[in-house]
């Protein structure tokens, strides 16, 4: 068995998995550095984009969603989008009416 070659069972090689691990580490380090720099209103969008990239990489390549049946992708994406919408709705509601949190 040659571990460096793709077989039917494997979606990626060991080297590719290690490269992804390295990329995730670099992004985390970058997030940490950016959180200490004063870049004003850009901080939140940049951090969200970087963590979104990490999220997609882990889901697509480590959880193999990229190679799975489209139904699984639909189920997971639907739940994630729904959870994000609930989060946005709740946070927006409390931002626009802070008195709600004091009740």
């Amino acid at each position: 068995m040659n571990n460096e070659h793709n077989t039917d069972n494997n979606h990626l090689t060991i080297k590719q998995y290690l490269k992804i691990g390295l990329l995730l580490t670099v992004i985390t380090f970058l997030e940490l550095i950016i959180s200490y720099i004063d870049i004003g209103f850009l901080l939140v969008p940049i951090l969200l984009i970087l963590s979104g990239v990490k999220f997609v990489i882990v889901v697509a390549y480590f959880m193999h969603l990229k190679f799975e049946d489209i139904l699984i992708s639909k189920i997971f994406t639907f739940a994630f989008v729904l959870a994000s919408c609930i989060l946005l709705a709740l946070v927006s509601l409390f931002i626009y009416d802070p008195s709600i949190s004091n009740r």
């Binding site: 069972n9 189920i75 709740l90």
Partner: protein
């Protein structure tokens, strides 16, 4: 049991069930993160998560970003170890699977120890579950995630002990490792979101 259990969709029912469970867990964590964000800006009494000046008095923030960055790195590396364990299982490489499974368990326990240290430090600083909204929502969210990691570690330990009784890997074992891997990576992606929203964002 050696045959795959297929549903009408053509996907193994057990794998489909795991994905549906993870999808439902997304909603659970979504609600917990929302609660934390709502309460974070509305804390009536100290301690506070970040540095704050209230009525002219300065309060040090509790969150320790360098420490949590280290624990985040540990959890990320555990995900890499888990994917290599799955690789070993899928290639019938028992030694590789055992080695990386053990590494994942060790890294998972290390992450939990980081969390125990953080919780003890926060308690020492006066932040209890009922001290303020920050304490309640923070302990609930990160504690719930910690319980997920703990359950994952128990599952991986049981799979590792099971593998010691075998000389080779069957198709079923590979499947169990892959399914446990899905759960473990999910725990990792939830922490990616919690780390960014709770620790790195100032507001």
């Amino acid at each position: 049991m050696s045959e795959q259990i297929h549903s009408v969709t053509g996907i193994d029912s057990r794998k489909l069930l795991m994905w549906i469970f993870l999808a439902s867990d997304c909603l659970f964590f979504g609600a917990l993160i929302s609660t934390y964000l709502i309460f974070k800006g509305n804390i009536p009494n100290p301690p506070y998560p970040t540095d704050r000046i209230v009525n002219g008095e300065f309060f040090h923030g509790l969150l320790n970003i360098p420490l949590t960055s280290a624990s985040t790195f540990v959890l990320l590396m555990s995900s890499v170890a888990m994917v290599l364990a799955v690789y070993g299982a899928q290639n019938n490489n028992l030694k590789m699977m055992k080695g990386w499974l053990l590494s994942t368990i060790v890294l998972g326990i290390a992450f939990l120890l980081f969390q125990v240290y953080e919780f003890r430090h926060f308690l020492h600083e006066g932040l209890g579950l009922s001290t303020n909204q920050f304490g309640a929502s923070f302990y609930l969210m990160t504690g719930f995630h910690g319980v997920h990691v703990g359950i994952g570690v128990i599952i991986l330990i049981s799979l590792l002990f099971g593998s010691f009784r075998r000389n080779s890997l069957g198709k079923e074992t590979g499947f169990h490792i892959e399914t446990a891997g899905l759960y473990w990576h999910f725990v990792d992606i939830v922490w990616i979101i919690i780390f960014t929203i709770v620790y790195l964002m100032p507001y």
